[in-house]
Point group: C2
């Protein structure tokens, strides 16, 4: 969930200065139209790592927007009046009216995060708070509110660097609160709890936007642009249209840097290393699947990737040394009649392996947010709610002991072209290339955005995505096998 | 939640025999249209008290419907195959395809109910199961499924009578399972847990229908008619319409017996008794509000009722002996501009009292499902989701120690007419009667249905409705005061 916010997003000052005037003008315009329409309020929640820019963002919004139409609410210690009433009362009293914007700096998430990190309660109670928050947001959204939820993120390393630099600067050391230091110690726990909270509350009607907080220009522009896109979409939507949830669709990152771009596709293995490592990993997998600790687990591997990225070949290498009674490969193509008559997850549920078994999905339930999104086979409302539904689905698998590994095999456009041409020229490979493949290739940017959103919204602690650098097939195959083995070993170690 | 299912609903055999042929014909017709349209599946969940007719209903559905288009799934002990997979797998594999109906006899609710009743886990874990069930149902509904959830109910007394009669009958004693006897012992707990489950999972997209199970004819007709109404509404709805959730609206009970009708409106108090009891209860309330245990609680009383039922007079009697610093009366009329710019619950949240204080709402948040429903001030989707939102709201109050009492002051039409005429003829009362009152009077049946649904869906263990027989004002006033006092004492006793 946070991977895309640890890759060093940045925007240079010149670009920032050039873009900001127009953005501010457009935001103000949107604000006035919001006021004139008077149809709905806007609620902005700011959460995340201390030092990642929440405070600065509040200042920024105050500076960029018309302050008469935006109100910043901070929620620190409860007042006497608040303590004497149900906990939600303090938020209700500060809700912005229709036509206005309200920033909730500190909000219903702050308390549940702190409480869980400090061990005041366990996950079951955290989940009660999460569900109360979800119910509140759903109701606000049903009542017309447009909700933005920003999580400002820093990697552990970035956080330490930031604290250190503030501390060493006599002009700024006062800005470091005891809370900052405390969070530096509880970073891992805070991020783990945050991940659970985000996973369960990122819903189509109020998705989370995770913003990397290191670079001030990137952070500010991202928040501004997300607000603007969301506002404009909602202002344009006719009052009753339900075709799309009352929330902005995900937007590609402003510096055009995505997780996919951060991959080093030049990684390769020479033949000798490959042969040696492949056999080693294959033997390791074979052993792990026969391990008696496997009786408590099942293994599911989902393979997605660019066309011609080598999914089939990778899968064959995985199964090469395995007892065929232990595994099964499910090829996912267009749904059968029987499958079309069911909810889209049905055709995957039916192939979930029993404990002790291993199922590989050659393409998977992620088709909903990839091909179905890009090709318009389902409505935006459908694929937007799918992220949450998929996270729920995978959580059910994880809770039942299923070890879930998800691969995106990434190649660059040149490599794909080369492989397409090779397929066309090789008689026994010709069946592997169709007009569809060429058509998909033209939609490369659309797929890239869809993959980015998919990873951002569904790479979770319980089921992380593994991006596989697949320009070199040998490197990719070994990485796939090794990742599966490591996931199994990690699961066994936790038993 | 179960009150309406303990009032002895019954339909005589002659009526049953006369109605059934047409109902069956219409159900079959609907089934064939469901098949022809092939647009959505129908999922029927059967839950409730043992012996209240679940099994008989399954037989009935099999008999009445075309068995090729309906499949009954029972879920008892998990099979080996099921035990080896995530718990939800057994339900997914039995989902009916589009155009078909699936009956789930035993379902995702059975296990959570048993588990909680037997003390295998506490409410926090129950709530996790509840939320997983809600998420599943919401997803199924978003994917097009039409879901019916029936809870078959028996009062404790009725249950014992039924068990006894089966036991004494040598032909039928085999039908009593150990589970039945066990449930007879755990009846109170089962109903309490069931109430929590129903309260939290009765949502607009998949509401619960609570059916009194004593009378076979009533039970069968109710299930059949509810299915028919729901099917026909969904078949008629164009695919994309979101104006109304994909679920049937509540239907008035078939025997035209409602909780309101079961009231004995002739109850009265003579003047001496009234004066004595009124003073006693007023003094008791005054004492309770000054009790130091009140520091942990707040008191909220909501007054609803027929026009001219005496809400104002009752409220004045409640406050007569109270320190004015302790209480506040909120008159609820049409929302102000400021209130219209907020979610509808906002104008009630703002008046929630601090601990130690008492607020009376003269009309309340129930306006959403009464006047706004009847007058069409909001859409069916809005008022249908309001039941769940209101239950959530009241749960938040209860969790924070707020003691909540809700009154429906009921009079009959003759009494209302008499009071209207009296108001018109009494100069100082003339302001109390307007053209609106006469118009509302014409909508008596619509209001009666709305009140019935309101009580069925929002009378909960944490915030039960009190129906007040108000033809006699003295009787009503004393009952209101006594109910408040008893609620406070019960809350104090639990501290």
């Amino acid at each position: 969930m946070f991977e895309s916010a640890e890759i060093g997003h940045a925007i240079d000052k010149a670009t920032f200065d050039a873009v900001v005037p127009e953005l501010r003008e457009a935001l103000l315009q949107a604000q006035y139209e919001l006021k004139d329409q008077g149809r709905f309020p806007v609620i902005i929640l700011l959460c995340g790592i201390e030092g990642a820019g929440k405070g600065e963002t509040v200042k920024l919004l105050n500076e960029w927007m018309d302050p008469r139409l935006i109100q910043v609410n901070t929620f620190d210690q409860q007042t006497d009046e608040e303590l004497a009433r149900p906990p939600a009362w303090r938020y209700w009293r500060q809700l912005p009216p229709k036509g206005h914007m309200g920033v909730f700096f500190g909000n219903w998430y702050s308390q549940m995060l702190q409480g869980r990190v400090q061990g005041h309660f366990k996950n079951a109670v955290l989940d009660q708070a999460i569900d109360a928050a979800s119910a509140l947001e759903r109701m606000l959204c049903d009542e017309g509110a447009l909700i933005f939820k920003f999580w400002f993120h820093l990697s552990k390393k970035q956080m330490r660097v930031r604290l250190k630099s503030l501390q060493d600067d006599p002009l700024h050391s006062w800005r470091i609160s005891p809370l900052d230091w405390q969070q530096s110690k509880t970073y891992d726990k805070y991020v783990r709890v945050g991940e659970r909270v985000l996973r369960r509350t990122s819903r189509e009607f109020a998705p989370w936007y995770v913003v990397e907080g290191v670079d001030e220009y990137y952070r500010s522009l991202t928040v501004g642009q997300t607000l603007l896109d969301g506002l404009q979409a909602a202002l344009k939507a006719s009052g009753q249209s339900q075709a799309q949830p009352h929330a902005p669709p995900p937007t590609p990152s402003l510096d055009h840097l995505s997780l996919l771009d951060s991959l080093d596709l030049s990684q390769a293995l020479d033949k000798d290393d490959y042969n040696e490592q492949l056999v080693t990993e294959q033997a390791r997998l074979s052993g792990l699947l026969r391990d008696k600790r496997m009786r408590k687990h099942a293994l599911v591997a989902a393979f997605e990737g660019n066309d011609a990225a080598g999914k089939g070949g990778a899968i064959r290498r995985v199964t090469a040394a395995l007892d065929p009674r232990l595994y099964r490969i499910v090829q996912v193509a267009a749904p059968t009649d029987e499958e079309s008559a069911q909810p889209y997850l049905w055709r995957f549920w039916r192939h979930i392996p029993a404990r002790g078994k291993f199922t590989m999905f050659d393409r998977s339930w992620y088709g909903r947010v990839l091909v179905e999104r890009v090709e318009g086979f389902c409505s935006p409302a459908d694929w937007l709610r799918a992220y949450g539904e998929i996270n729920d689905f995978e959580e059910q698998l994880a809770d039942a002991g299923v070890v879930l590994v998800k691969f995106w095999l990434a190649i660059d456009q040149d490599t794909q072209l080369q492989r397409f041409q090779e397929r066309e020229q090789t008689p026994f490979k010709r069946f592997k290339i169709t007009a569809d493949d060429w058509r998909n290739r033209e939609k490369w940017p659309l797929y890239r955005d869809a993959v980015g959103d998919m990873v951002d919204r569904t790479s979770t602690e319980i089921a992380p995505w593994t991006l596989v650098e697949a320009n070199d097939k040998r490197f990719a195959r070994v990485k796939v096998l090794r990742t599966i083995n490591e996931a199994l070993e990690a699961a066994f170690a936790k038993d």
